[in-house]
Symmetry: C2
Subunit: 238 residues, 2 copies
């Protein structure tokens, strides 16, 4: 937690004062080991970054005097279209993409996505929010990414994706019939990443019809949680 | 498992024949769902890649006719000096680094490495080997990376690191007083990555005395399991 993310509900009637309990309180007490008078890095959800000075701190609650004055880091101009990963990996992938600045993540069905993955409790709105918050706190960001769940591949790729990807470079990470993945994207990108085992030929055909180019990162096949940071870092070396 | 890694002990007295049991057998039966006559991608530890044709397959063992004829992918010319991560993350980081082609990984102590991490059973030789094998199988590689455990920061950095890093570009991922991390390394690199919370100033001083330059990936702070693929992909975009 490199930043404490504050929600509207955290602010009290006292102007510029926030009151925290629960997970963030425990973290400040046990990891930061903060005391009254200490200053912590804070940010307001979808707002600015700044400093929170500890006004009071007990095991039940903490009050902060909050001054917000700096913009969050710029977002990555990239939409990530990701075949739904297995539940064990999902949280980590959401944190990784969020921490790198992705602001729109589409979790898409594909033939090699096991049907059971869509039943995972990790897809509950509450968990999807919690993981994005962890990613924002990690990267000292405040802007919550959007997550869209698309359980039907064909209608999404045919009917929604072309408008969503309009004006962007459209790349599908797929090592066959591919060109090398660009180093430094020229502008906004829509990046599609397949499931373990990859998109099937029909799915690649549909993506190509929608304007995607297959791109490769080399002969090594990476796990999705490594492939995503590797791809984003290559497209947008800051 | 994009490749089945074969060890010397797997080969039978029959030339070109290997016999597998255990984890690899289960994977071939349950995930690949292979049958007699099918061909699987195989590689010999520290040797060549090739094909294994299933000669027999029962629930107890599988025999393969093995033909090895292709070199493994080129290694990444990078030594990774990594502050020992928390046990929960260690396996994933070893798999990530191995799958990206790192051939020497030094796990180093630092002030912000909790002492208990060094007691983790995950540091047992058996587990370190198992994770590297998973990384090689993931990336279709055969060359086992070396892992060195260095529990004393100062003697390692003062006495061993200069010789180890000689002739390489020496970079420490550290966002303060840093230059931007190069995009495309000019040649071999020795890359130091600190613990959660970073190297302390004394440690950075020691690394600088040993020839390291602090480099930054931008204002976002990434978890180590994302930072490593992001750094490697930026230094060596294939």
């Amino acid at each position: 937690m490199n930043l404490i993310l504050l929600f509207d509900d955290d602010f009290t009637h006292e102007p510029g004062t926030a009151r925290l309990t629960g997970r963030r309180l425990r973290h400040v007490r046990e990891v930061h080991r903060a005391e009254v008078g200490d200053t912590l890095t804070v940010g307001r959800l979808n707002g600015s970054l700044g400093a929170g000075t500890v006004l009071s701190l007990t095991k039940d609650a903490m009050e902060l005097a909050v001054a917000l004055d700096a913009p969050p880091p710029p977002p990555l101009p990239l939409t990530l279209i990701l075949a739904l990963p297995r539940p064990k990996v999902l949280n980590r992938v959401i944190i990784a993409a969020t921490s790198m600045g992705v602001k729109r993540l589409v979790l898409l069905n594909a033939v090699r996505v096991e049907k059971s993955f869509w039943q995972s409790p990790r897809l509950a709105e509450e968990n999807l929010l919690a993981q994005r918050v962890l990613g924002l706190e990690q990267a000292k960001d405040t802007r919550l990414p959007e997550i869209l769940l698309k359980k039907r591949f064909k209608p999404f790729v045919e009917d929604e994706l072309p408008a969503m990807a309009r004006g962007t470079e459209q790349l599908a990470a797929h090592p066959y019939d591919a060109v090398p993945c660009p180093v430094r994207a020229k502008g906004p990108v829509t990046l599609a990443v397949g499931p373990e085992g990859g998109f099937i030929p029909y799915e690649m055909e549909k993506l190509k019809e929608a304007g995607f180019q297959a791109v490769s990162m080399g002969e090594r096949i990476l796990r999705v949680e490594s492939a995503i940071p590797a791809l984003l870092s290559r497209l947008y070396p800051l």
